[in-house]
Symmetry: D2
Subunit: 349 residues, 4 copies
């Protein structure tokens, strides 16, 4: 019953098999000049129906920080949700690698809207040398609350960004979960909606360690290879990143895995919502379930061996919010057991 995160998972056998094949394929040019990396760029171009400049890296933090560094000068500001991963969970990596300041904006269910962003921008002085200058917007898809932006929502934010002279970045650590749920084309959630750069995650959804920075506007990528190398993020045996990502896309593995995780989250949410005293804090749209319950109950569940994290402090009435995450390899039994445990514990309380 480990719902601590989707990065507690292992790796998918198909991705391991691809690594084994790549490992045995004989010498290959280093640093991305290998056939796997060439194939990856072509594959992603086809998938996104747009020419892309692709830069694989080993962590999502690197993908986000380097992508944003390409979009903002050191005196720039990056508008993001107040609970975005780049704000709350990356120890200042965006600032460290770009120089920019994050400009956090609160928003319901983890989501930004043009109106929220406009209100935040209205407090800033554009063109004034005394202030950090807004340069980019960063969206998380799925959000930190497990919710999703629909294509029209991204497009509205993209239009807002263009109007305001801002670049648009998408942190797609759980992009697969979004596409799997929404059933739309990747293009509709990205460049067609105004996204300039996507951090495409694979690690949480079946890879060992593989993310890719995708530039839809290739001019923006002109200097990216230097940025990546200078930050220590250019892997020498790049084939092993590219091979993971290729296997991730092959046979729609990324969507199959995400669909499974999403489905388990749905079942978990439905089961927990039916337990007296429990309530969902946000719509469940990807693979994360946020549930409110008495802290005492949560303690007992954790004591019984379940794993999940509190999400924010316990309120004065003794209730807290807790996050449960399902992954591509979460056992169905874990979901069933946890629902039963929650029900049993709640009823015996």
């Amino acid at each position: 019953m480990n719902f601590a995160s989707d990065n507690v998972g292992g790796a998918h056998p198909a991705i391991l098999a691809a690594l084994a094949e790549a490992a045995a394929s004989g010498p290959a040019a280093a640093y991305g000049a290998d056939p796997y990396s060439a194939a990856l760029a072509a594959r992603l171009g086809a998938l996104f129906e747009h020419a892309v400049a692709v830069f694989p890296v080993a962590t999502g933090t690197a993908a986000n920080a380097l992508a944003l560094a390409a979009l903002t000068p050191p005196w720039g500001g990056v508008l993001c949700h107040a609970h975005a991963h780049i704000q709350d969970d990356e120890c200042g990596a965006v600032e460290a690698l770009s120089g920019a300041r994050l400009l956090p904006v609160p928003g319901a269910d983890g989501k930004l809207t043009p109106a929220l962003l406009a209100a935040r921008l209205a407090t800033m002085r554009r063109g004034d040398q005394h202030q950090v200058q807004p340069a980019a917007i960063s969206l998380s898809q799925a959000t930190e609350c497990g919710t999703l932006y629909r294509p029209a929502e991204v497009a509205a934010l993209g239009a807002f960004a263009r109007d305001q002279g801002l670049r648009l970045h998408m942190d797609g650590a759980r992009f697969a979960n979004a596409v799997a749920r929404l059933g739309c084309a990747p293009a509709a959630l990205t460049w067609q909606a105004g996204v300039d750069v996507l951090s495409l995650g694979a690690t949480k959804n079946g890879a060992l360690a593989a993310e890719a920075v995708l530039f839809f506007d290739r001019d923006l990528a002109r200097d990216f290879s230097y940025r990546r190398k200078r930050a220590g993020h250019l892997l020498s045996k790049m084939r092993f990143l590219s091979a993971q990502l290729l296997a991730y896309l092959d046979h729609d593995l990324w969507l199959v895995n995400a669909q499974r995780a999403n489905g388990l989250a749905d079942r978990l949410a439905a089961g927990l919502a039916a337990v007296p005293g429990l309530a969902l804090a946000h719509p469940v749209e990807a693979n994360e379930v946020f549930v409110e319950m008495p802290a005492a109950l949560a303690e007992r569940l954790l004591g019984a061996g379940a794993q999940f994290y509190p999400w924010g402090p316990t309120a004065a009435d003794g209730r807290g919010c807790y996050r449960l995450v399902t992954g591509f390899d979460t056992p169905e039994t874990a979901v069933r057991q946890f629902i039963a445990l929650a029900r049993g514990t709640a009823e015996s309380a």
Copy 2:
């Protein structure tokens, strides 16, 4: 006949098997709180006969830059060989992640000596606010010329560093090749000789992407976890780095692989040195062969399908220096074929 680098190699089956096992081992805590990572620290402590703080990362550039960032303030200077990898091949990553300036020092066969360092330091003003202040020395073991520091040589540099109030870092991208050749204990080349921090490489010698920063003085490591995260170098599924490194150490795989590569380099060197017109530029002590030959000959060898790099510009007499690197999985036939090709081409010229 690919001798371009040891990072053109694949990965060792035992390391792949370890990854497969780790991938199927069920959920594990992320970010290094997993059993593989715990075992790794213990294993490295035993191997080095000293308690160590261990931080796996995915690239050697990250290992070097982050290790040095822990040893120097932003206004510090890092003494290194004029052709050190951190100086010539990492696009300023040390400067980017530490703020420090590299202070390159020329030295025969890629090696530094206390005398060379003392001469360089004599040109600097210690304690003068107008100058970058020397803070650390970085050695490469093996060096960029494929030569090795003996334990006594490292110890002399370690004593010099202590005398001068400097910290000592070792870039051990090819540390295995050194230990395999010298037959000494890892301790004798590191902390017993005054090394504070080691970048221990595995990628070039059989891993897919795995390096470890080892602190022998654990006080120096106090803030390292923040440095690593902030630079985007904390992998979420850390077990996959640790599992690679464990398999690398198991059954002395690191030494077996290095011995094989070293042996092939010896054979390559012996074969080439016997070809008329060819001469070794440096002693062959690890897995790199530097050979001088007419540039026209080198062109023909490359044209025939061999792969290797020129090392510096062609001299006025038409001769150049070329680097050939063997790896853990370089085929013996490639060595034989290349020697034969070189001999045949040279004789037919």
Copy 3:
């Protein structure tokens, strides 16, 4: 009627005279090894009743950013008021020179309290490598709302800082205005209350360009000379900074000037508060007056030649907040004229 800022002012004749004397005093060692700089350190030590390490610089932004850089690691966080100058008006200089992230905290009348800070800290995870780590608190004295911290208020914040393992910085761009108003010893507002480092301003209060960073804990200053030089903030003819600061302290000029500016602010506030439709937004405790009035009225006052700035956006009811600042050399007639203008314009509306 120029109330735009206290930096629209000129310079005090006594400070100019000191510059002229220093200019004609013959050769003097550069970079702070001159007699003026030595005298300054002694004078400030006496004034603050505590040994201090003193570092003059030419701008308040430099003083703040360098002071904070000495208090926080690059992954640190600096708690400050949501409208602190370092947050709103320095284009990210603290981040640029320290690496740290600012952690803005809203608070009434520009002021922080232990309770507000505790609430902010409660949302952060101390010791978690994924988050920026709180390292320091920065107070502005006077605040951006023209209010003051009493000695007991600073002491409460100082005790809180110590409890939390945080350092305490005071942005004293208008420190003189605070001391002049509160009538307390400088020590009572600084080291006795737990302040580690003070940015002591003189520019707004009669100097041409002179600020000083004062460390009460001299261990914290150990590396400051390198930080200052490396950021380009070490003036070669340092005597000209030190001479300004000495003249600023001589004959209590700093307090005389501040008292005058404070008194003019009092008169301005009293006069404006008596105009129908105008209201003070914050208590007037230093040399800044924040007044709420209809935006249309403000437009007319500006149109009539008065100079002052809006402070935030106009509200839906058409009223806005405006800042008026008096300085050491603001003419009394300007105050009288402006009050009369405001009254006349308001009544004719």
Copy 4:
């Protein structure tokens, strides 16, 4: 007999008078929107016969570091003389404010030539993501050896820079000394010769603290105001920088002062060269004299109260090189006395 540096000098009365006038001129907009700053830009445009973007700052280190930051990306390299001030005497400020690496090039008499630069560039791999990419050249005029680049020499370097796709910066801390000696138009030494950005110094030649960054290509200056502010180098009462610079240019004060200092250096050089055992190390073309003499003699001169610095270590034969600098306010008697002292001491030895 203080020849330690030209920054041991005081300030010129005309510049002090200008400060006094500016101080008493009533309120003026801050941060450069004042009439003095407007006049300065026009004046410099006329003097240089070219539209310029002008940014006054208080230190030469800031001028150089910020100017170069505008010319190079963080992964860029700046070619400079091995003994350039930015390399030897600014504690890494260029690196700190730009991210770039300095690429020092030795050259006789402190001077760079296209051939020297071409040789240095030949060792680097342009367009290779593993290396810092050459982005700019920085010349010092006068050089650190007190020599000058003629207009044709600068033009040759400018043409080389354009050919190589590099920007050209001139550190003109002693630009006045160069123009005064060469008798050429400022334009001929700068934009007409390919210089993109000039750090124009006034501090060493009569100002209290005033330097200006001049962009001849105004596109390069687009973001400079943010860079300056973010580094803490935007003075609030900017009129006091601009007023110094205006007075510096008025009535050719800059050239008069420089001519006087140059002339004193000539006399000092002639006098010393005639002393047995003394020899000039470099041609004396500006206001610096480098003289070789026995270290024992130098000790006695210093012991007799003269002030000057050794320039590099004492050689094995007991002789050293020493730098003597004259300034706009060096007394003629100091020059006469020092020559007499040197002669007398040498003869009595």
